[in-house]
Amino acid sequence: MAQSIFSKSSGDAESFPQDLEGRTRFPLFAKIIVVFVLFGFLPLLIATKIQAGFLILLFIAAISIGIFLSVRIVIRPLKKLLNGVRQLARGEYGAKIEIKSNDEFSIFADYFNEISQKLKITIEREKAISQMKSEFITLAAHQLRTPLSAIKWVMKMMINGDVGKLTQEQKDFLQKGYDSNERIIGLVNDMLDVAKIEEGRFGYNFEFGDIVAVIKETLNEQVLRFQEKNIKVIFEPPEKDFPKIKMDSQKIKLALKNILENSINYTLAGGQIQINAEPSGRDYLEIKIQDTGVGIPHSQMPRLFSKFFRSENVIKMQTEGSGLGLFIVKNIIKRHGGEIWIESEEGKGTTVHFTLPFKERLIPEKEEALEEFIIGF
């Protein structure tokens, strides 16, 4: 796909009119000469034959003609060019400049119109592709979710004994199937999120909220999983309350959940996860999630935030994970005007740090479509 788009546009480039300059019948240079002649020599020539009183009038007339001509020849087309470029800069692709002066300005305008038109076609094509991709993913997700719901409901009803009594062994067995199904549902959700992020349409609702409450809620939702793996969780809320932070609480919760899930998945039973929240300088709040897990090999660190990345050492652990979690986290934090970074030592543990600004003005004004993260490839 990418190949064909590329070759098409390079084909267009070859057909680009190279000889536009040849059409200049009245180059600027010639026009300037004419103005100079009118402005300088002509009055002088006439002045020698006419009374002195008339001379002033003639001078005024000559200056007026000079100004009029330079406006017509230079300033007006320049303004038209400027206007066109401004339109293009504002995103009005396909904007046209009409100059019929048959000089360098009209050539400039012709070239500009070519570029503008090409840009319009390219951008429309890109939009169409992105729209198609989005529609495809939405449709696929919906199509996937329907049978996944059916599997979920059937297994749950069987486990609950709604369709007859089961032995504990049968229930445990079904529970494994249920859990696997939950993982696919999670993956579908992640895929939908990623598709939205890449389009710049993840959709954020910024409101002032209490970050400590958000952390507590997220931790509470994971309590069962902490217990299952016998992981000790430490979160000591700061003694002094933070000011309310402008954020999308649901998205921050999703980010925290993704980070915590990594910590839970890659921390062996009996380990520990510690969460801290404290101010970093005057403008930012820093949240730190530190685990005693398996860590990330040094060589793999640069690729941490790229899509579908999964560290080699954890692939061997056969734990769940789509490789989309941190990609989503990074985008959420960036959208909030924060930073995220990770420290890790293999075999000892991983610490995820992220910041969120206290001040509203540090939050980007709008969500932008983000290019894929391909760092490290």
Binding site: T146, M157, N189, L192, G203
Partner: protein, 121 residues
């Protein structure tokens, strides 16, 4: 007995949720598309409606807006039960007057019935 109307085009899902509802003591009517759903709302005057969004013919959004624009049935709570889960869909559903919006893949039948009970309280 409490009347519940389930508007769901997928036969298997409709049967599953109906079965669970019946087992929990509800009286269930099932409709396979929007038109039938609207007809049954008027016919059975259910206490609550579970409404799918992607339906053949008239979609769930249209059904919802017709219910909410008809004073004789507008007061019946409608829970959207769909697998459309994007922000725009959820917002549109709630704006049209749905009392809750549940994504099928995120709720078990038991949890859905809990929601039904909590809304009817």
């Amino acid at each position: 007995m409490i009347n519940v109307l389930v508007v769901e085009d997928d036969k298997f899902l409709r049967e599953l949720i109906s079965q669970k509802l019946i087992k929990d003591g509800f009286n269930v009517h099932g409709a396979i598309d929007g038109e039938e759903g609207l007809k049954m709302v008027k016919e059975f005057n259910p206490s609550i409606i579970l409404l799918d969004l992607i339906l053949p013919g008239m979609d769930g959004f249209e059904v919802l807006s017709r219910i909410k624009n008809d004073p004789s049935i507008a007061s019946i709570p409608v829970i959207v039960l769909s697998n459309l889960g994007q922000k725009e869909d959820v917002e549109r559903g709630l704006k049209l007057g749905a009392v809750d919006y549940l994504i099928k893949a995120h709720f078990t039948p038991g949890e859905i019935i809990e929601k039904v009970r909590s809304i009817l309280k």
